[in-house]
């Protein structure tokens, strides 16, 4: 449903690219996470996908339509939420929803229901809302229309854990209905929990792709122990767990910790390498 091919973008006229040769696809009924530190190129990629920025090179297609020439048509079935949640301060959220439904032929009642679900007071002016509540307004605005594609830039930052959970309930429902969801986040545990695939971007280049269904991560264990002599050891292990236990039983231990390797470890790895190289 989403296809990004050879995407380059430069904010200047020279070839100082913010993103380089970015390629990925997001299929129907799939949630793909987009991870990278601040300034890595996540928002640039996302903004190019929704025609806020024009690719310097490359192509972006959504449901077979060109993201530039068919931008308006695409927005008929695409929901986009920016990371900043910048909204108009001098209107109420209900006035904002009323404005939005005018473009998508949706019943305003849906906005009322979503506001109730997210516990949002729609009569307050946007300027009087906290960051979390502004986030809720943006989420409701995105979920209002019947989107087949959702592009979400840090959708849960600023939301409390209960609201994050409620938000993902709806996203998973959208997924079941066949929507393609592409979301960026710094919350790696939610990425690990809800995403089918994860793309890691660093300095504008995709450096890793992780299929969460595969055993690539899940099988790996991080083994850390201290021997009776006080020697500390730590290593990754992806072999048979019984062999590991046998191996460890031959060592006199003071402490032992075995934990499953998660995406956070994979993610941080790239930044540690960057630090080492610097």
């Amino acid at each position: 449903m989403i296809s990004v091919k050879g995407l380059y973008h430069s904010y200047t006229k020279n070839e100082n690219f913010a993103v380089r040769d970015v390629n990925f696809e997001v299929g129907q009924g799939e949630i793909v996470g987009f991870v990278g530190k601040n300034g890595a190129g996540k928002s640039t990629t996302i903004r190019a996908m929704v025609n806020m920025l024009f690719p310097t090179k490359g192509s972006i297609n959504i449901n077979g339509l060109n993201a530039i020439s068919d931008a308006k048509k695409i927005k008929g079935f695409l929901g986009y939420m920016s990371s900043d949640c910048a909204l108009y301060d001098n209107v109420t959220s209900m006035e904002l929803f009323r404005f939005c439904v005018g473009f998508s032929n949706v019943d305003l009642l849906k906005a009322v229901e979503l506001a109730k679900y997210f516990e949002l007071d729609t009569n307050k002016k946007i300027s009087a809302l906290s960051l979390g509540n502004r986030k809720k307004v943006s989420i409701i605005q995105v979920l209002l229309k019947d989107s087949k594609v959702l592009i979400l830039d840090e959708p849960t930052s600023g939301l409390d854990p209960l609201m994050q959970s409620k938000f993902f309930e709806l996203i998973l429902k959208k997924k079941k209905e066949g929507a393609a969801v592409f979301l960026s986040s710094h919350n790696l545990s939610e990425i690990e929990r809800y995403c089918d695939k994860v793309i890691i971007i660093k300095d504008g280049v995709i450096v890793d792709r992780i299929d969460m269904k595969s055993t690539k991560i899940k099988k790996k264990q991080i083994v850390s122990y201290t021997t009776a002599e006080g020697i500390e050891e730590s290593y990754e292990y992806d072999g048979d767990i019984n062999e590991l236990v046998t191996k460890l039983s031959n060592i006199k231990l003071q402490t032992l910790e075995i934990k499953s390797k998660n995406i956070e470890d994979d993610f941080i790895k790239y930044y540690e390498e960057e630090g080492d190289n610097a």
Partner: protein
């Protein structure tokens, strides 16, 4: 034009007006009050103004755009002098208001919300232009209404409706011209504050007209670069071939600026 949906443009324009109504109302009230204050005092000011009018050199009269007006004891002449000054304020409003409509969407990043809706860049640009036009029109009408009330109260026989309408029609074009300049600039780029730049253009044009009036023999051509001079109340009343041709040229420039602004806006990155 295929990406322009009239309903979308109307919805966007209504929303723009809603989110900017304080600014429009504030400026309209301010201009109404200033004009009312000056025009209601006409019976008391006319002698003073006439004395000033008589004592001023021709260059100064031209500078105020009232050289060919008969006398300051005349309501229309007095209005012409005041309106030519008020037009500077109205033009600054036109430039800042029009450019901020586009510039602030990107500066405040609200464009990410607005452009996530099923709208085209062309619809956003056109709605901003219509909003700017309506804002400048509201401020102009507030000046007109204020003068009309005062004219009916104390204008007497010297309040000639035809002349009044002629000045309003021609001289007010100046504010709308600067609205077009600012809209075009904001459409082309939002990397610098186009509101400040637009106000700068207004003041530069005013100064060019000023210099053109002062340096009549040496640099008369400077006057033609200033809408304040070309469409001054004096020229509005004279309305000779020179003014008609200038109006035609400025109208073409008006359309060209807005077209270029719209074309670039559709093809450039948003500055977010």
């Amino acid at each position: 034009m295929r990406d322009l949906d009239t309903k979308n443009v109307i919805r966007l324009t209504s929303f723009n007006i809603k989110t900017n109504k304080k600014q429009i109302i504030g400026w309209s009230v301010a201009i109404f009050s200033i004009m009312f204050l000056y025009m209601i005092l006409f019976p008391y000011m006319k002698d003073l103004a006439q004395a000033k009018f008589d004592s001023m050199p021709e260059e100064m009269l031209e500078l105020f755009g009232v050289k060919n007006l008969s006398s300051m004891g005349n309501f229309i002449s007095y209005f012409g002098m005041i309106y030519n000054i008020i037009l500077v304020a109205m033009s600054i409003f036109a430039a800042t208001f029009a450019s901020n409509l586009l510039f602030k969407e990107e500066k405040n990043k609200t464009i990410e919300f607005l452009y996530s809706l099923k709208v085209s860049r062309g619809e956003i640009y056109l709605s901003k232009l219509i909003t700017a036009f309506l804002g400048v029109l509201a401020v102009t009408l507030s000046a007109v209404l204020s003068t009309l009330i005062c004219g009916l109260i104390n204008g007497g026989e010297t309040f000639v409706m035809f002349d009044f309408v002629q000045i309003v029609k021609i001289s007010s074009f100046t504010a709308f011209f600067f609205m077009a300049v600012a809209t075009s600039m904001a459409g082309i780029s939002s990397k610098v504050s186009t509101a400040a730049l637009g106000s700068g253009v207004v003041l530069v044009c005013y100064m060019l007209g000023f210099l053109g009036s002062l340096l009549q023999d040496k640099a008369l051509w400077l006057k033609y670069l200033s809408p304040f001079e070309i469409f001054s109340p004096t020229n509005a009343l004279v309305f000779d071939t020179k003014v008609v041709v200038s109006l035609g040229i400025y109208m073409l420039l008006f359309i060209a600026l807005l077209t270029v602004g719209g074309i670039v806006y559709k093809k450039r990155d948003f500055n977010i």
